[in-house]
Symmetry: C2
Subunit: 159 residues, 2 copies
């Protein structure tokens, strides 16, 4: 599936999970080792936003808890019961529930699978240039660059 | 639910369908009278893209068949079997299938519910300014303006 299939319907679960699971530096990449992402939007040649079908095995996390400065995010739960953590704490979601994360609020979020069953959800995020991601629980900052995310320590030093 | 609930999970089907079902001029508004849209993204204060949970009763259509110049679109089928029509013809989708519509291809699309059961899908579209929508089957052109969509005949005259 290397060629764009704009306008053709596909079975989302037939898309192979992406080979490189995380672009985080260690130890953060290992923190999300029990998630996998099927990249859907790019498959159709979409460039203004990304859509992934993301699975979390038991114990899996969607990401480090994070907040975007400029990019909005949206998730829709298809299967399982992930716990959504924000600055306000955790609450359990189930299939048919959704949440949105407005850019610039500073309220950091992630999903954690604290159950024994796989969680599957859709995630959408736009690609506004110049984004910056903050991680209140970790010594990490991400800055969007034309060639991808640049990760540094909070003091600006590199990984 | 007038207030933004960024970061809080909600049950998508609990959101009331939007009151005004279509901004098309007649006779096109009636053409989509058997669809309803629950506006999800705006509820969380998202502004870079929109997400709707859209239902099509039997005979319902998602939209006039259309193509965006600048805005990407994505749909994910949650329930039922909508037929996706593009310039290439129709094919039937089912739950778990998705499709993306890259901006600028000129390939026009819509979904039609040709079954006896309700179709439910998620639709995502970004809000790139200056978009223009073409409708190959109808005497209609839409142009994005800061105050919303402006609809004209193909000769530029108003509705």
């Amino acid at each position: 599936m290397n060629e764009s299939v704009s306008g053709v319907g596909i079975v989302a679960l037939d898309v192979p999970p992406r080979a490189r699971n995380s672009v985080y530096p260690e130890p953060f990449a290992s923190y999300v080792s029990r998630r996998s992402k099927r990249v859907l939007g790019d498959l159709f040649g979409l460039s203004n936003f990304g859509v992934n079908l993301t699975s979390l095995l038991p114990g899996g996390r969607s990401a480090l808890r994070h907040a975007h400065a400029l990019q909005d995010e949206f998730i829709y739960v298809l299967q399982g019961r992930p716990t959504l953590y924000t600055d306000a704490g955790g609450h359990v979601l189930e299939a048919g529930m959704c949440a949105g994360f407005k850019a610039g609020t500073g309220d950091a979020h992630h999903l954690v699978n604290e159950t024994d069953e796989t969680v599957v959800f859709l995630e959408v995020g736009d690609r506004t240039p110049g984004d910056r991601v903050s991680y209140p629980d970790d010594d990490l900052v991400a800055t969007a660059t034309p060639s991808g995310w640049l990760f540094t320590h909070k003091d600006g030093s590199g990984y």
